[in-house]
């Protein structure tokens, strides 16, 4: 089953590697956005099956973007996975408490990123 995943990250190289990984390994349709605002617009327009959301972004950060997504009827039910380079336990708990389905850490392994997302969301195709 083909899936559509939206990657929201201000760092172009991270967007490119994640998109390449999901397209090549899983064959998913990948959308990308370089900011929280652009990501929200793409999510409303395209209704992806999942969103991979960076935490630290200039302007609207990941947690703020997540809360905005949850407040909009079109995007409220889309599962969101946070991506962060922060590894302190307090940060992990703070992010998990937001209500995201999972907090994943950078750097991710491009070879297994798709499998980790699929396992988290209960997608059986991988």
């Amino acid at each position: 089953m083909s899936r559509r995943v939206l990657i929201i990250d201000d760092e172009e190289d991270i967007r490119e590697v994640a998109a390449l990984s999901l397209e090549t390994v899983a064959g998913w349709d990948v959308l990308v956005a370089g900011s929280g605002a652009a990501g929200i617009a793409k999510a409303r327009e395209n209704r992806p099956d999942a969103i991979l959301l960076d935490v630290m972004m200039p302007g609207m950060d990941g947690p703020t973007t997540f809360r905005e997504l949850r407040s909009l009827p079109e995007t409220a039910d889309i599962p969101v996975i946070l991506l962060t380079a922060k590894v302190q336990a307090a940060d992990q708990k703070r992010f998990s408490d937001l209500g995201v389905v999972k907090v994943m850490f950078k750097p991710f392994d491009p070879l297994v990123l798709a499998q980790e997302i699929a396992a988290t969301l209960g997608w059986q195709e991988l």
Binding site: D13, I14, L20, T24, A85, F108, P110
Partner: protein, 112 residues
């Protein structure tokens, strides 16, 4: 994942590393320059912010290109820069050593 997909991914990652390397080197330059400034003026908040941002980005990206040790070192630099209060001489020495280590890790990765 099939062998074909793995080979294709590895090839494309190599291409992406070539195109991303200049950005990585720019971030190293920012980090090095911030640490040099902090050696002269340990309470310079702007330099610390610049260094933190560069280290954070490096810690997130180096591992995806097969440099997990680079991500670990960048993360440890980020941790040192997050220390509360002015940086001590001991912390600054540790910072300089880790920045040099990070330079060496990045230089060790071939373009192909």
């Amino acid at each position: 994942m099939t062998e074909d997909a793995a080979a294709k991914l590895a090839e494309r990652l190599t291409e992406l590393w070539r195109s991303s390397k200049s950005t990585v080197l720019e971030r190293m330059l920012t980090l090095r320059s911030a640490c040099e400034r902090l050696t002269q003026e340990p309470s310079d908040a702007d330099a610390r912010t610049r260094g933190l941002e560069a280290a954070h980005k490096l810690s997130g990206v180096l591992g995806v290109f097969g440099l997990p040790q680079g991500s670990e070192i960048a993360s440890s630099i980020e941790f040192l820069l997050e220390t509360k209060g002015p940086l001590t001489a001991e912390t600054l020495t540790a910072l300089q050593r880790r920045v040099a280590d990070l330079d060496a890790v990045i230089a060790s990765k071939p373009d192909e």
